[in-house]
């Protein structure tokens, strides 16, 4: 019996050993395998608002009217439209309210039907009117209809007419009528105007495009629509299957694509939570591209036949937020709730000297070096590198303990320095960079004055959500990633009084609001640049947050991958130009 067992072991071992390949001819030359962590939430382009879903949706299966040329974000190329509207070709009206897109002819959907301008119109209206909670619909609703949501509470406050009049079909063109001039509109169209066939959607239980029925399809749950797990677009790949248990999406080449068909015949995108798995599969050549955290980078350096593309610019910012008005009820993070050395008062951070002190106390250099292996830059404000209006010459805070001490001494009439304080900083578990950032603040602030006590607490997401929602956070870490590569996408959530973070943190500056409004309405790049410069200065003077880092990305892939390029807007890769040689 023992002999049998041993024999079995030997057989298994030798069969296993055979797959340990060294130096390598291309495996599966027609199939590209990507390993990520995080699986898609929904494949419905109007529902999805997460990176994993976005990778599949755009630009691989669904396409938009205009697109990007490689890595360049500032200019566009025509896709489903035949021209990029501009003032010069008069496709943008002089008042900036009308955008005309001539629609390409002869484009085939994955089911073989031909795309018409009516499909474009339907898709945009569907995108806006589906408006699920926490979804992306506001991106088009806001510039076109002028509202952030179709609903106010439970009531629907947008009529069909309101929406329908913003998107019209004129002959072979689709025309957008904006509510207000919005300079960033083209970048939103480039990233979010996905086109699907109306007939297909209607035939599968989705909205049929008519005025009377849209309300029934408003605010669906995840699984309510056919488009949740079925896709029908114009892109170079079509969906073969989405196996939610294997966490695997399989795409196949769309031979009727309106450009030359893709080189790859199949793409497999798989969610593999374990880094060690991903690494070994890359090593074996079973995977062609794997997602790797910055923290894990040292474990993939020096791998044979593996290429690492580093220093990829990202439109992403990591920020530490000050809560100007902390809710003191049952809040363990503020200690005694008073400035008595064992707590902080609820409005502790409303004094700009406190904020400046923290901003000077943060060791940006060490943070970037240790959390990002040096692959990040320090921003001056929310207008980060890669956006119009970014200016590296503008002032930013430096790590200066003396200045920090000086600011603390001025804070709250000098009381802070003499009585000291104690509070807890929070961040959500699972993010090494935020952990390190929290640690750094704690260490440097505490080193200034023995009466300063900063504790750090990591919370699971549900608790963290509860905390920030109830305005109980004190100093907490959260970031922002790009929706569309326009400075307005970053200025609003951080500086506008109606923006996500200022609302949460009770920060407002009417001057900032005014500047944001102006910059959004203008389509003159020079004018906008000047306005955003002023906004960055406000971000510096008000310091509502510590602008900690703008990290870069890096990608790890087999060296046989050809045609790869980087674009920070994409959720993942553009598989169209890829091949393996």
């Amino acid at each position: 019996m023992a002999a049998l067992f041993l024999a079995g072991v030997l057989i298994v071992l030798t069969s296993g050993a055979g797959t340990r390949v060294a130096g390598q001819s291309v495996k599966n030359p027609d199939t590209f395998v990507t390993l990520r962590y995080g699986d898609p939430e929904s494949l419905d382009p109007a529902y999805q608002y997460d990176t994993a879903s976005y990778e599949i949706v755009y630009p691989n299966v669904y396409e938009t009217l205009i697109g990007y040329n490689g890595s360049v974000l500032s200019t566009y190329v025509p896709r489903l439209s035949t021209e990029v509207p501009s003032l010069a070709n008069h496709l943008i009206s002089a008042d900036g309210l009308t955008y005309t897109f001539p629609i390409r002819q002869g484009v085939k959907f994955h089911d073989g039907t031909t795309m018409t301008p009516e499909d474009v119109r339907y898709s945009v209206l569907r995108f806006m009117l589906q408006d699920r909670d926490g979804g992306p619909s506001w991106l088009l609703l806001s510039p076109l209809v002028g509202k952030e949501s179709t609903r106010d509470g439970d009531k629907i406050v947008v009529t069909y007419a309101d929406a329908a009049k913003t998107v019209t079909v004129q002959g072979n063109n689709v025309v957008f009528h904006l509510a207000h001039p919005y300079g960033a509109f083209l970048s939103i169209v480039a990233a979010w105007s996905f086109v699907m066939p109306k007939a297909w959607a209607a035939a599968h239980g989705d909205w049929d495009g008519s005025a009377g029925t849209w309300q029934k399809f408003n605010n669906p749950k995840l699984q309510d629509r056919y488009a949740f797990d079925h896709m029908n677009g114009t892109g170079p790949f079509k969906l073969v299957s989405w196996d939610r248990q294997a966490k695997e999406v399989i795409l196949a080449r769309h031979d009727g694509y309106w450009r030359a068909p893709a080189r790859l015949s199949r793409v497999v995108i798989r969610d593999v939570a374990e880094f060690s798995n991903r690494r070994l599969q890359l090593q074996q050549g079973d995977a062609d591209l794997v997602e790797v955290d910055r923290a894990d980078q040292s474990k993939v350096m020096g791998m044979a036949d593996v290429a690492i593309r580093d220093d990829l610019p990202r439109l992403l910012i990591q920020v530490l937020h000050f809560n100007f008005k902390i809710d003191p009820t049952a809040n363990p993070d503020i200690g005694s709730g008073k400035l008595d050395g064992s707590g902080i008062p609820p409005d502790f951070f409303s004094d700009v000297h406190v904020r400046k002190a923290f901003a000077y106390a943060f060791d940006y250099g060490t943070f970037i070096r240790d959390a990002y292996r040096g692959k990040a830059i320090q921003p001056s404000g929310p207008i980060i590198q890669g956006l119009l209006g970014y200016d590296p010459s503008l002032p930013k805070y430096t790590f200066d303990k003396n200045k920090a001490a000086a600011e603390f001494k001025e804070a709250w009439g000098g009381n802070v320095w003499s009585t000291g304080f104690k509070f807890t900083l929070t961040f959500n578990t699972g993010n090494a960079a935020r952990q390190i950032g929290a640690q750094i603040i704690k260490d440097s602030v505490e080193s200034l004055n023995p009466k300063f006590k900063v504790d750090i607490r990591n919370l699971q997401w549900s608790s963290f959500l509860q905390l920030t929602n109830a305005h109980k956070g004190t100093l907490y870490a959260l970031g922002w990633a790009v929706d569309y590569p326009d400075p307005d996408d970053f200025a609003q959530p951080f500086l506008s009084s109606k923006g996500d973070y200022p609302q949460r943190n009770s920060y407002s500056n009417p001057e900032a609001d005014r500047l944001i409004q102006q910059a959004a309405a203008s389509s003159d790049p020079a004018k906008r640049k000047a306005l955003y410069k002023q906004l960055t200065e406000i971000a510096y003077n008000d310091v509502p947050s510590i602008w900690a880092a703008q990290p870069t990305a890096f990608k790890v892939m087999r060296s046989w991958v050809r045609g790869w390029y980087w674009n920070t807007v994409y959720g993942g890769e553009d598989y169209y130009p890829l091949s393996k040689q």
Partner: protein, 317 residues
């Protein structure tokens, strides 16, 4: 006789110690039997070692943070460093010192395990005594409730409780206590049932002794041995469950001196670098050995207690 159904190894019932003069010789005999078995001695030595470690922690590993359970870290870099000057056992991801973590981790282990055992015993005393002594529908109710708790997969119940209450050491202790109390309650109830019908208890009742008095003076002392056996065998299991919770990100917070937390930090590093898979061996081996020895010690000790206090198995040793 209903077939045995329990979620722990069957604890044999011990005989009540004889009252009076023979108690002294009983203890002597017990100790001698204990000492004769090398494995029992090994277990006792290991546990004693950890007790010393836990007690002397502030001297062996000087705390630098306000909360001594938070491990000091030199810098914030991701890559763990091998054992070297300043870090006798090396560091984990983000430079937490493994030596400090192991020393103070023994404190954490004792605190957590003893808290859970204490909580479970208190609940068991309350419920088990009422249930076993009074019997009837109350007993039925308590037994059905323990049935339900025991039908739940342990780790999932603990994970759900911590996920609901929020991640912290205190909540993890609560979660594990919720998982463990049914076993203790059942054991205690069984003992109560057995002792209740014994002659001297019946005699005490006949003499007019009140129920709580009888429970306290006669019943409870006789149930100590099985509880001791269960508790010592359980200590290791509790630490393992707590470590599993930390491994899943639901136990001790990051940077806390807890062996399970240290192991969870090693998780991504066990594949090593591209050239050498064992580059970061110490991140797993160091805390892993600590847990292993701790649990081993308690298992040996628990075994020893069982052998010593349960005559039925004596012949087979």
């Amino acid at each position: 006789m209903t077939a045995v159904r329990s979620s722990t190894p069957a604890i044999p019932l011990s005989r009540a110690p004889r009252a009076g003069r023979t108690v002294e010789t009983g203890w002597h005999r017990t100790l001698r039997r204990f000492r004769r078995n090398p494995l029992s001695v090994l277990g006792a030595v290991i546990i004693a070692f950890f007790v010393v470690l836990a007690l002397l922690a502030p001297f062996l590993a000087h705390p630098t943070e306000r909360n001594p359970f938070m491990i000091p870290h030199s810098g914030y870099a991701s890559d763990p460093h091998p054992p070297g000057p300043g870090h006798p056992f090396g560091t984990t991801e983000e430079q937490f010192d493994l030596y400090y973590g192991v020393i103070w981790g023994s404190r954490t282990a004792f605190v957590v395990a003893l808290s859970v055992v204490a909580t479970a015993v208190v609940i068991a005393l309350l419920l088990g005594s009422i249930s076993g002594y009074y019997g009837g529908p109350l007993d039925e109710l308590v037994m059905r409730v323990t049935d339900i708790f025991l039908a739940f997969p342990h780790l999932i119940l603990a994970v759900v409780i911590v996920a609901v209450l929020g991640q912290s050491v205190r909540n993890a202790v609560i979660a594990i206590a919720v998982v463990e109390w049914p076993t203790y309650t059942r054991l205690l109830r069984g003992e109560f049932l057995r002792v209740r019908d014994m002659e001297y208890v019946q005699a005490a009742r006949a003499l007019g002794g009140g129920d709580p008095h009888i429970i306290a003076r006669h019943v409870i002392p006789n149930t100590i041995y099985p509880m001791l056996i269960l508790a010592s065998l359980n200590m290791g299991g509790i630490v393992i469950t707590f470590a599993a919770l930390s491994f899943l990100g639901l136990g001790a917070p990051i940077g806390y001196a807890d062996w399970g937390q240290l192991i969870s930090l090693s998780h991504n590093w066990i594949v090593g670098t591209a050239g050498d898979p064992f580059t970061f061996w110490y991140t797993l081996i160091v805390p892993g050995t600590a847990i292993f020895l701790f649990v081993l010690g308690w298992n040996l000790l628990g075994d020893a207690f069982r052998d010593v206090f349960d005559p039925r198995l004596q012949g087979s040793r």
